[in-house]
Amino acid sequence: MSRLRWKTRILATLVVLANVLGNFFLSLGLRHRVAATSSWLEALTSPWVLLGAGVLVFWMLCRLALLSWADLSWVVPVTASGYALTALIGRLFLGEQISATRWAGIALITLGVLLVRTTAIRTTSPRRLREGSG
């Protein structure tokens, strides 16, 4: 496999994992704080919320790097697998129930991701974009 494929695969995986983990930490922090009936300011400076925000900054930087070579119309659908992963994590680690409708949603997202993954990672050349944008 080429170097481009490898770094795309690694960065896309990091983008998905960082997104899922960041959101998970955020919701953990906010939920705990709301339960303890503390103020919003306190909630926003709780360790889980800060950790979540940090992970989301890492998510954004990884996504920027990925977009420096990969197509936007490749990155957006492929990294949407995070939605399906979030639902599965809820099922595995938090014991949440998944309805038939949600299973169907997970299946459609997985199918869409697999379909887009069969297409070329990059279809534009930087030179053409430079000329196009003046």
């Binding site: 977009l67 936007l72 119309s73 949407a80 997202i109 869409g112 887009v116 297409t119 930087p126 974009l129």
Partner: protein
Amino acid sequence: MSWVLVIIVAVTASLGDALQTLGMKLHGEIHDFRLGALAAAFRRLLRSWHLGLSLLLLAISFGAFLGLLAIADLSFAVPATAVEYVLTTLLARYLLGEKVNWRRWAGAGLVACGVVLLAL
């Protein structure tokens, strides 16, 4: 009112994404993943207006999404904003000139439908 917010969320998010991609493509492919090189690339990126404006658009989108959550249920907000997947693909095709074949269209459509089902 909620549909106005949905449109603002979707349009600013996809425009922000397209602008961010344009900025990154104009900067060029990241080859060197050592910390110093990444920091230098980031400093270069901050000097172009693309990244700054894209972050502003994404911040507006996030703010509008929070506003939407304040007046509507999550089970309305998430499916409604799934239209953003289709909009982003359109912008990638017509603004960035990416080659979107039927597999990409179908993939983006399936993902959008899947997100709707997950939120129901």
